[in-house]
Amino acid sequence: MGKCYLAWAKDPEIRQKGGSGGFVTATLLAALKEGLVERVLIVRRIDEFEGVPLLTDDPEEVKSCSSAHLAAPLNLSSYIPPGERVAVTVKPCDARAIIERSKRRQIDLEDIYMVGLNCGGTFMPVRTMEAVSDLFGLDPGDVLGFEVSKGKFLVEARSGTYTLPMVELERMGYGRRDPCRYCNINIPVMADLACGDAGVPPGMRATFVEILTDKGDELFEAGIKTSMIEFEEAGEEEIETRVRTDRRMSEDADMWWDELSSMIDEVDHLSYYINELGRCIHCGSCKIVCPVCACKDDAKCLDMGREGYRISLYNLIRLFHLMDSCIGCGQCEDVCPADIPLTMIHQRFERRMEKELGYRPGFEMSKPPLQEPEPGGKV
């Protein structure tokens, strides 16, 4: 475990407005001010149910974007401009994608400062709007904010605060995206910093920060040097609380994996894959949004489409290419117009490979074991 602190923005306005004491906003501002990065990549809030990537060097824009956006299930790795030094706020899946993209020479990891955000999962916007409408009778336009805290789904609306246990919400078919439910990586340990609520004493507006790399040190130092942040060392009790929270969330994720995955085990596997993948309309969206796919327009899989097989070679090639590389971010499943549970399918293969080969994509820079040899013959 890296060095752990409780930290917050020194500016009272940023501390008040930013999520968890505004540490992340203050750190991004400090990175810009100190010239560590040219721009920062963050999520611009359009409303409670919509956010878009924003690449900016404008401190005012950075301030206006503070706090996480649960209903903007983006993978920011795809929006990083090559050849530019940027700081980017990352969920674990963003961070893993950045590492995999760096292996594939899409971006240079040296240029990127990853400000990790602990993540309990993101939500599909339309389904979440339906949840607040169906369960609480609210007009989504009247929702001021929503969050997940201590196992509860909390909605703040003009008419008051509404709450429901997450378990209940998700048993009713609402809640987090499926890939988020079974993702057991809550703390972005592969980022430079890992920031979150877990471990922060109740009532304190602060972020629990773990410094994971030298670049994480640089970011933290920039915050101190510019007087943008204040901090204190995290105590044993706080660290233990964070570890416990992480363990509980991972166990919850594993339970979801067993449950959702077992639905496939209960049927004939081949029939399942034929039925699901047979609906593919070959729009190519799953490849376009896949953060670890680097083949672009000349990809082999794109030569294969409607050959008349019930599972196309396009899908089979993608299965093979991703079986040691899928990071489970869920982007493919989000955009599939045929509602194919692609992430579940890819993860079924990847998790098995992970066990067999002892390789987990997106954690460090070692090469995927099944990747093709380089032109020089080096594997």
Partner: protein, 364 residues
């Protein structure tokens, strides 16, 4: 990176998406917040940046490039000289509601009654009480909740992929889904079903009649349409005569086309006395026009469309140029705001709202 919230011009579903502009470069991104498609796109939507990369027409008169005002002025002069009885206005449903209404007002100002959105022959042969069934379809949620879905002469996976997932969701909930080819069916039993078919210029009118008659006991009927805003065009009353037929018969000698797509009467266009085209992209049709008036690309336009569910959706842009060109030909008595108010009035809405099913068929 500028993210513009827009809608796909590929068909009547009008999927929500982002046009991402970085300098001159245009890309498409997935807008998961859209209640229409939740971020999912078909192949056309995915490749939309190529569609928008097509060359835009220059203002021309008789094949020569001119400035826009000259093209507009010349269009006004030549329309004045043309016989209104032999002049037609054809909108192909690829325009905003505001452009279509301005186009209609322009036709009226010249006393032209020959107006068409390519579907007039179907609309005018349909009894008045069933006409609304031809325009707006049904909310996709009601397709998902159907017990029985009958697809007549339509294959969603090929023609309307974003409809397919709604049908599959219904099927997973236990709905019976039947694909029917009327040519192979002795009779249509549509009672209680959600009926989905397609209406295009080439659809056999007998099929439409059959579905409407047999579908009186159906829970709802939804006619999908191949162009972005044919629903809006129908609701705005942009129909009257089958212009394609009249051109073939030589009864139309002057024609004004709004945002045309290549069609089966293209070969006849060069024989007309006057062909005016207003379009956002260069096509074979704009190349043979006597007068060409360029308009912005679809996503750049300020205005709305009505999708097949009955949502009034903003297109996302800020350019009023397309509407303003039409109003200038008319003489400049109306402005964009007048047209916008007119659209709200005809549609019976207060404005665009993607989250609201604003227009319904009035069926069960």
């Amino acid at each position: 990176m500028e993210f513009i919230q827009s809608v796909c011009p590929g068909c009547c579903i009008n999927c929500g998406l982002y046009i991402v502009r970085s300098g001159e470069e245009i890309k498409v991104d997935y807008r998961k917040r859209s209640p229409v498609n939740e971020g999912k796109l078909c192949k056309f939507g995915v490749d939309l940046s190529r569609y928008y990369a097509k060359e835009r027409p220059e203002p021309t008169v008789d094949g020569k490039e001119v400035d826009l005002e000259t093209a507009i002025g010349e269009a006004a002069e030549r329309l004045k000289m043309a016989s209104s009885a032999e002049t037609g206005f054809l909108c192909m449903g690829n325009s905003t509601n505001e452009e279509i209404l301005a186009f209609k007002r322009l036709a009226e100002s010249f006393g032209i009654e020959n107006i068409d959105c390519t579907l007039s022959k179907h609309i005018i042969s349909t009894p008045e009480d069933l006409k609304p069934t031809l325009s707006v379809g049904v909310p996709f949620k009601s397709i998902e909740e159907a017990d029985r879905i009958i697809l007549i002469s339509i294959n969603p996976s090929l023609q309307y992929p974003l409809l397919l997932r709604r049908v599959i969701r219904a099927e997973k909930k236990g709905a019976e889904v039947v694909m029917l080819n009327p040519a192979e069916s002795e009779s249509l039993e549509l009672e209680g079903a959600v009926v989905i078919s397609e209406i295009t210029q080439k659809t056999d009118p007998m099929l439409i009649k059959m579905i409407l008659e047999a579908g009186k006991d159906a829970r709802s009927i939804c006619f999908m349409k191949p162009h972005a805003n044919l629903t809006g065009a129908m609701l705005l009353g942009f129909y009257g005569v089958d212009i394609s037929e009249k051109v073939k018969l030589g009864e139309i000698r002057s024609l004004f086309l709004l945002d045309p797509v290549p069609g089966d009467m293209d070969d006849l266009l060069s024989d007309l006395d006057l062909l005016i085209v207003q379009a956002g992209m260069k096509t074979r049709v704009s190349e043979v026009a006597d007068i060409t008036i360029p308009s912005p690309r679809f996503f750049e336009r300020e205005g709305t469309v009505v999708n097949i569910e009955g949502r009034v959706l903003p297109v996302g842009g800020t350019s009023r140029a397309g509407v303003e060109s039409l109003l200038k030909i008319m003489g400049g008595e109306m402005d964009f705001e007048d047209v916008r108010r007119g659209v709200w009035e005809v549609l019976g809405v207060d404005g665009a709202n993607e989250d609201l099913i604003a227009i319904t068929q009035g069926r069960r």
